[in-house]
Symmetry: C2
C-alpha cells in the first residue's frame, strides 16, 4: 500500500477505484512503479473478521497462505487478533496473495491483486466442525474466481446449511459479478444466502437495474437480509420486509477507503449476531467503516468496542 498521485494511476494504466487481478510478474512490475510502501495484512473477509474479533465476536478464519514472509505476517496478525486460523500452510509456489494498493489524495484506493496461494485453498482443508458450530459463515465473492476456493465455498455453504447456520456473502466487486453473476443469482434463488452485502454498483451489476431502489425492490424479496452500502451516502438494509437506512458516520479526514466495505460488514454482522435492531446493525457498520477509512490500511486501529458502545441496545 502506497500513496499515489492521480497522474500515477493514469500512467500505470490502472482503473481508479477498482480491483484488477494480476499475476506475479505483473505484481513485481507494478511494485517497481509504486511509491514507498507499507505492508499491512489484508484480504476482504479477513479484514471483516479482524473487525468482528476487535468487537468481541468469536471468529475462525479459513484461507490459504504460503510459507513465506507475507504468509507468516498474515497468520501472525490474524491470530494475535484472537481469531482461530488452522488452515495448513501451503509450501512453495505460488507465494502468498498480495494486493498492491495505490491510494490517491482523495482517499480512493486502486487495487491490484495477485491471488497467489489463496487460489489453491482446497475443499478438504475445511474444518467442517468449525463451520457447523459458527452462527454465521461469511464468504467473499473475490474468491469465487479461482476454482478450488469456489468449490471449497460451495462445500462450506452446504455444511453451514446442513447445520442450520446462516450464510453471509459479500459480492466484492462488479467485475466478479460480471464473471459469476449466474452463480450468485442461482445461490440466491436456491435460498442459500441469508445475508448479502453489496455496494450500489454491485447491486446494479447483479440485478441489471441501474436505479438503486429498483435494484433493492427486485432483490430484497429473495434474501432474508440485504445490506447495500453507498459510500458517503450511507447504507440501506432490508430484512424480512423491514427497511432501514443510515447516514455515513462522520470522518474528519478520509485518508484511505480500503476496507470500508469489509469493516461495514463487520459492524453489521456484530450487531446481527447480538440480536440488535436492523437500524442499529447499520449504525455499527457505519461506525466501523468510518474508523477504517480515517487511516491507512484495512484493519481497525482504534478501539472498536469503545466506538460502538454508545449505539448498542
Amino acid at each position: 500500500m502506497a500513496a499515489a498521485s492521480e497522474d500515477q494511476i493514469v500512467s500505470l494504466g490502472m482503473a481508479k477505484g477498482g480491483m484488477t487481478l494480476i499475476d506475479e510478474a505483473q505484481a513485481q512490475a507494478l511494485y517497481a512503479g509504486m511509491g514507498a510502501a507499507r505492508e499491512i495484512s489484508g484480504g476482504s473477509a479477513a479484514n471483516t473478521l479482524a473487525g468482528l474479533a476487535a468487537l468481541g465476536a468469536s471468529c475462525g478464519f479459513i484461507g490459504q497462505v504460503s510459507d513465506d514472509a507475507l504468509g507468516t505476517a498474515f497468520a501472525h496478525d490474524i491470530r494475535t487478533g484472537g481469531i482461530a486460523f488452522d488452515t495448513p500452510v501451503r509450501p512453495g509456489e505460488p507465494s502468498t496473495a498480495r494486493c498492491l494498493i495505490f491510494v490517491t489524495p482523495d482517499g480512493q484506493r486502486t487495487m491490484n491483486t495477485f491471488l497467489g496461494a489463496s487460489q489453491f485453498l482446497p475443499a478438504d482443508a475445511l474444518d467442517d466442525s468449525v463451520i457447523a458450530d459458527a452462527q454465521v459463515l461469511y464468504l467473499e465473492g473475490y474468491l469465487w474466481d479461482p476454482e478450488e476456493p469456489r468449490r471449497a465455498m460451495r462445500r462450506a455453504i452446504a455444511t453451514a446449511r446442513a447445520a442450520g447456520r446462516k450464510v453471509a456473502f459479500t459480492l466484492s466487486d462488479p467485475f466478479v459479478i460480471a464473471r459469476h453473476g449466474d452463480d450468485f443469482r442461482a445461490l440466491i434463488d436456491a435460498g442459500d444466502i441469508d445475508i448479502l452485502f453489496a455496494n450500489e454498483h454491485e447491486l446494479a451489476a447483479l440485478t441489471g437495474l441501474d436505479d438503486f431502489h429498483a435494484g433493492i425492490a427486485a432483490l430484497a424479496p429473495k434474501i432474508p437480509t440485504l445490506v447495500v452500502t453507498r459510500s458517503e451516502q450511507g447504507a440501506y438494509a432490508v430484512s424480512q420486509g423491514e427497511h432501514a437506512n443510515v447516514a455515513a458516520a462522520p470522518v474528519a479526514h478520509v485518508l484511505d477507503t480500503t476496507g470500508a466495505g469489509d469493516l461495514f460488514a463487520a459492524g453489521f454482522l456484530f450487531g446481527h449476531v447480538r440480536g440488535q435492531a436492523l437500524a442499529t446493525c447499520l449504525t455499527l457498520g457505519a461506525v466501523c467503516a468510518a474508523e477504517v477509512i480515517s487511516h491507512y490500511g484495512a484493519r481497525p486501529e482504534a478501539d472498536l468496542t469503545a466506538l460502538v458502545a454508545p449505539f448498542l441496545a
Copy 2:
C-alpha cells in the same frame, strides 16, 4: 510495528522508550507476543535520508540488506524515494535487520532491534566516489556496535575528510554511548565530526554532565555544529559560537514518536546544506519531526516540501 499497552511493555520485560538489541530467536519470540503489526521500512539513517530526499536533497544510502522479503521492501522504498542505493545485497543468513517496535497509547516507542545483515556491511562495499562527492556524510551511532560497519564508517569518515566534506553523526542511543563513548569522544577530539546530533540523554551520557546547559557548554567548543533535541521541549543548536533554539512544532495528536530524531536531523541538514540560518535549520527539523510523530512509522507521509516552504529564506 504494533500498538501495545503499558501492561504489555511490562509483561514482556522491555525497557519502555529504549532500544534493545536482540538476536533472531528473540525477535521471533517477541513477534509472537506482539499485536497485529504493519511492516514499514525504517533504520535511523535511512529514515533521515528519506526525509532529506522528500525535501528535495540528492542522497545516496549505503547499508547492508539480505536477499529476503524485508530487504527487497527496504530497497524498494529507498529507491522509490529517489535515493541512490547500490550496496550489493548479501545473500543468505543472517536475514535483513528488523526492529520490533511497540507503540504505547502515549505515542512512546519501545524498540527491539535484530541487526541481522546490517552488521556485515563490509568496508569494501563503500563507493568512495559517492562519499567524496557528497556535501555531507551522515552516520548513525547504532551501527558503531558491530565491527564491520564500524570499520566501514571509519573509512567513510577518512574518505569524506580527505575530500574536504562534512561529517555528520547522530549518537542514536545512550547505551551505544555507554559502550562506545570513548570512540565518539576521540572522533570529536580529532575534529572528525562537523555536525553532531544528540538528544539530551545522549548529551548527558557523552559528557558525563547531567545538567543540559553544562553539557552544551562542555561539548559545543569541540564541534562546529552541535544540535541537541529535547522532545516536546524543542531543540537547541550551537554553531561557531552562535546559539539558537526552537520550540517543538505543534502536533494535534502524537501517535508514534518513532523517527522523531531521524526526521529532525533530516530537516536540520536540509537547511544546513541550503545555507539557511541556524534558527531556520532548527525550525525545519522541528517541522519534519512533528510530521513523523503524527502518524505510525518513521518515514514521512505528508508533503515535507510544502510543510517547510513557509520557513525557508
